[in-house]
Symmetry: C2
Subunit: 211 residues, 2 copies
DNA sequence: GCCTGATTCAAACGTACGTTTGAATGAAGG
DNA sequence: CCTTCATTCAAACGTACGTTTGAATCAGGC
């Protein structure tokens, strides 16, 4: 009855270390030392460091993106033929990602940080992987957002999507920094407050008059 | 009359490669090969890879931050005892950084990208360096921003600073991505338009009613 | 009890890294 | 001309990396 879950142990250790130091700055030897498994086990189970990274991301991203799409569909169902309000769409998009920090079974704050970092990662391999994972989400959310701000010129609209991604990624990657920076006035552990602040900020930004 | 500027060549090559692949993923050998200098020259002139990185950043950041402070002071002088409007403060903060891309003598889009990446860098050494370089700017701009939105509760205020940093950093690090993502509708080469879009977005976000 | 296939393991592979060394080079001063 | 000092250079240092290998271990089926 050993039941040692080598594969899962590697995934968990890799997730934690990738998030803390970045994928490039994390070595396989650090991972296997933390997971207490043999070095060759990584290549046996995953094939390469790059495939391991992909597995780390997929494990969490697939359900996360499914949740985003489900929330959006729920809103669209609830609103029938009417347009889903901007704040509802934004909440369906950023809520599941930020809420990760409240769910240790899904990686908790650790994976949230890793996901935030990946948005900023220069490595084209990681970029391609992320783009692929986000393709469906983008395809569904962009039209929904556009319907929510129908009078906004397309150029403004895409700039604001860009700012949205930046604000969201930075919040995911480094919410903890805000605690000290704000002198304790902000508490990143209060996830729902964090979501409200972000959605509130983004909503106002999206609704700004174009110039 | 050789006049070869080894030190400058290294700085330029390092800046370009650090920005393109990230400091951690760039090796000294890639840098010296691009700069066409000897490997030992890096340690002769800079001492270590880390010091080189610091030199790369300081060369641009010192004048950049000076420009930010000068613009802010100019606004404060122009407005006398009245409060400097939010958009003016934001422009003084993000304008000089985004305008880098128009000034090849100051590193152009290359350094802008590197600076954006550094905000997201996990490496504590880089974080400490950035914090130190930004200390004076933060100390001057935060009160100015706070005066510009005096009715905003402090908790909201600091969250929005956080979102501001994320949107700005992402815009600096990856404005080019928006060109393809928007299907050509957005043109990151038009720096002044980029600044307007960002300031417009951030202003609306900062002015949003607290909930 | 042995065979089979999946898993674990210690050891080594070749490569690339940041850094150091010590000699060669080159211009300036006496 | 010789010394001096800063700079450049080729070569090597030791270390760490991702990956591969082949044998050891283990479980379950016949």
């Amino acid at each position: 009855m050993k039941m040692k879950d080598t594969k899962g142990d590697i995934l968990n250790a890799a997730e934690r270390l990738f998030a803390a130091r970045g994928p490039h700055a994390t070595s396989l030897r650090q991972i296997i030392s933390s997971a207490k498994v043999n070095l060759a086990a990584v290549h046996y189970h995953f094939g390469s460091k790059e495939s391991l990274m992909q597995a780390v991301m997929s494990r969490r991203l697939v359900p996360l993106n499914a949740e985003r799409l489900a929330l959006l569909e729920e809103q669209e169902r609830a609103h029938g033929r009417r347009v889903v309000p901007l704040a509802k769409v934004l909440t369906a998009l950023v809520g599941p990602a930020l809420r990760l920090s409240r769910n240790p079974k899904k990686g908790g704050v650790v994976f949230m940080q890793l996901l935030g970092r990946c948005f900023m990662e220069p490595d084209p391999k990681i970029q391609a992987m992320l783009d692929q994972q986000l393709q469906e989400v983008a395809g569904r959310f962009i039209p929904a957002l556009q319907r929510a701000v129908p009078k906004l010129p397309e150029e403004d609209f895409f700039w604001r999507i860009h700012f949205l991604v930046g604000a969201m990624a930075h919040t995911m990657a480094d919410a903890e920094r805000l605690r000290t920076f704000s002198g304790g006035r902000c508490n990143p552990d209060d996830t729902e407050a964090m979501i409200d602040h972000l959605v509130n900020f983004l909503s106002a930004g999206f609704k700004a008059k174009s110039r």
